[in-house]
Symmetry: C2
């Protein structure tokens, strides 16, 4: 069964990536898969959740702002960032400190 990310006790950090896709794949599927595979391997990675309908939302969770910075500067990630215009008509990146978490 799919499941929310199993994150530790806050505080930790979240990157909320919200996007609207351009038409056509343009290598998007392959890149997106590669980015998740890479992110999972990064130091400080805690989990990821993703869904897309009209809008796409991917939330990745990280142990620190330094871990986020290191991931954002990863060479393959940088390369993908440079092609953002091919894949996204609009996107927003929001970097957040998770203060509290609860649920079932």
């Amino acid at each position: 069964m799919p499941s929310p990310a199993a994150t530790p006790q806050p505080p930790y950090y979240a990157v909320i990536f919200t996007s609207v896709r351009t038409d056509g794949d343009n290598g998007y599927g392959e890149m997106a898969k590669h980015m998740v595979e890479l992110a999972v391997e990064q130091p400080g990675f805690l989990g990821v959740e993703s869904a897309r309908q009209e809008i796409g939302i991917t939330v990745s969770y990280w142990s620190s702002l330094e871990a986020i910075k290191t991931w954002q500067e990863h060479l393959d990630h940088r390369q993908a960032q440079r092609r953002a215009g091919d894949w996204y008509a609009r996107f927003r990146v929001r970097i957040c400190r998770v203060e509290r978490e609860y649920g079932s």
Copy 2:
């Protein structure tokens, strides 16, 4: 065209609600629509983004922790929270402070 929420300069706050649905509607569709309509009317509401595939992610944005608290204590919202088990096999609520935002 769908669009990411038009939020102001950080800092502001985000509630990341991640969930896995139970089978069947059980009044879920109507409740979810009502909750968004109500949230939009709350003081301090800044925007909302939502998508569902295997997992559902709804991120609502708020001007302050007080605004989030007031919304969470709204009578209709409380009533919906009490029925969470009817609609969600699993859910997580994460309350975050948005520190930085950028995009196209």
